[in-house]
């Protein structure tokens, strides 16, 4: 499902965010990625989600060669994945409902179908009563759950979650992780970056450690 081969990412100013990363993840796996701040977790996710292109090496996700993907293909690819961004990337001047509906709207789903799906998923993440609010008027944890709902609404084949529980209290964190495990159980490949080592230990999933742009450990 996900193949990284000799992937390097160098930012301007010769910051080597990823160095010779090789990685293979099968369909339906649940993987944690941990590492200190600045280790390269978000950069790895950017390669994985076609947010950015690698400087060298090849990244292949769900059959798409992300280093060479064309402009037309990249939108098709992004519809197949769900991404929970570390900074959420919600649209300020749209409601929670509209934000969550975006992945369905851009692929042209019918309005009543969209409404039903959005209501469903908001119920799931406990945001039904905030549907008509704008992101700036809800709490950080609620924004995070909005981002999670948007990443899941189109039932993606791959879910990439960058610190999905960073702003949540322990109870809510567990609930969200349970939700992600259920999604995984339905066949979605789930990839979660986190600082919460306690939780990683408890969940007993494959864990990849990254430091300084190099993969230093893989529990598989």
């Amino acid at each position: 499902m996900i193949h990284f081969s000799h992937v390097y990412k160098t930012y301007s100013g010769s910051v080597h965010a990823l160095k010779n990363v090789d990685l293979n993840i099968d369909k339906g796996e649940f993987v944690f990625i941990t590492g200190p701040s600045g280790a390269g977790k978000t950069t790895l996710f950017k390669m994985l989600s076609a947010y950015d292109r690698p400087s060298s090496g090849s990244v292949n996700v769900a059959g798409f060669d992300l280093g060479r993907i064309s402009a037309e293909e990249v939108s098709i690819f992004r519809r197949r994945i769900g991404v929970i961004f570390q900074d959420f990337k919600l649209l300020k001047d749209q409601t929670i409902f509209e934000n969550v509906a975006l992945p369905l709207l851009v692929r042209g789903d019918r309005p009543n179908q969209v409404s039903r799906r959005v209501a469903d998923i908001l119920e799931h993440v406990g945001l039904s009563n905030k549907a008509n609010q704008r992101p700036e008027f809800i709490s950080g944890g609620e924004q995070q759950r909005t981002a999670i709902a948007r990443a899941l609404i189109h039932q993606p084949g791959v879910l990439i979650a960058d610190e999905p529980t960073g702003n949540l209290d322990p109870n809510l964190s567990e609930e969200i992780m349970d939700l992600l495990e259920r999604v995984c159980a339905q066949g979605t490949t789930v990839f979660v970056a986190t600082h919460d080592l306690e939780m990683v230990k408890r969940r007993k999933k494959r864990t990849i450690k990254i430091n300084n742009g190099i993969i230093v450990g893989d529990s598989k």
Binding site: D52, V74, S75, R79, L90, L91, D93, P103, V106, P111
Partner: protein, 311 residues
């Protein structure tokens, strides 16, 4: 369909909400440009009408000399009948010309009428006008070529068509129509720039939105279409409002002419631009608006907007 309409409506209302002064200024400039354009069109349209009316009354006379024969006359007649540009050639005999002359002169010089030799000095002639489909710019040239061919024919003494007057009339129409076109082009270009500026700011304001839309899988066209529609709407509304405004100005001007200089009877001859040109101006507004925003948004997103804006 309803979904995309509401998406476009919210896009446009957001532009107006966030950039009211700029949007207003843009709209005013666009309307002003279209007012000027429709003013120029109305003016040249009416000048053409008035001049064409005058042009229609222009007559060419082919005078025969005293030695002209029946053959000469029928040769000229055949030439005129067969010419596609000649309208209703009419042969005027010496006698007919004389009686017209007498009629006109009766009150001025009654003595002349009894002069039996007079008929000798008045030539017979062909008189004709030009077909209506010949536009004012071509009239002079047509008359010149016709005159040149006629002059060398047997029995023809002279060809007259008010040469000097036709020349200046022809120059006038030419200058006006070229000047009008040039002016319209200049105005259109500057209006396009103003429009592009407004679309650019609309894009800048939505940079974040464009990035997020791309990241959730929106295609380039899904992102661009609202901008193009915004431009089309702007062009359409601006041109329509401008035409309404011009019509108001035109009507009051016509009224004024009617009251102040009624004797010229100008007000009965001038008209506002016809329905077809009216529609054409609005369609032009819509297309120009859509086109200039398309030019602006062509390159805003190629799938990697999120990462490009960071560079």
């Amino acid at each position: 369909m309803r979904r995309s309409v509401s998406r476009i409506t919210s896009h446009v209302s957001k532009s107006w909400h966030h950039h009211l002064p700029l949007q207003l200024a843009t709209m005013i400039v666009l309307i002003a440009s279209f007012v000027v354009v429709s003013g120029v069109i109305t003016m040249s349209y009416n000048l053409n009408r008035v001049l064409t009316l005058w042009g229609e009354s222009m007559q060419v006379s082919v005078y025969f000399n005293e030695n002209s024969t029946e053959q000469n006359i029928s040769y000229v007649k055949k030439f005129l009948d067969e010419n596609q540009k000649v309208e209703k050639p009419k042969y005027v005999t010496k006698e007919a010309a004389l009686s017209v002359f007498k009629e006109q002169m009766a009150s001025y010089a009654p003595d002349l009428l009894s002069d039996k030799d007079l008929v000798k000095f008045i030539p017979s002639s062909f008189q004709f006008g030009l077909k209506k489909h010949i536009n004012p710019e071509e009239q002079l040239e047509t008359m010149q070529t016709l005159a040149a061919s006629l002059k060398v024919m047997g029995g023809v003494e002279d060809v007259s068509y008010g040469q000097e007057w036709v020349k200046s009339y022809s120059t006038l129409t030419r200058v006006l129509s070229w000047g009008g076109e040039f002016f319209i082009v200049i105005i259109a270009i500057s209006a396009a720039f103003v429009m592009a500026n407004s679309i650019h700011s609309s894009i800048a304001q939505r940079r974040g939105e464009i990035e997020v839309l791309e990241l959730v899988g929106a295609t380039a066209n899904y992102i661009r279409i609202p901008f193009v529609c915004e431009g089309a709407l702007m062009g359409g509304v601006a041109s329509s409002l401008a035409l309404a405004l011009s019509y108001g100005v035109f009507s009051s001007l016509k009224n004024y002419l009617h009251n102040q200089i009624a004797f010229l009877q100008l007000s009965s001859q001038i008209q506002f631009i016809g329905m077809d040109i009216l529609l054409a101006v609005i369609i032009f507004g819509v297309i120009a608006g859509a086109l200039s925003s398309w030019i602006c948004v062509r390159h805003i997103n190629d799938g990697w907007a999120a990462i490009q804006s960071k560079k």
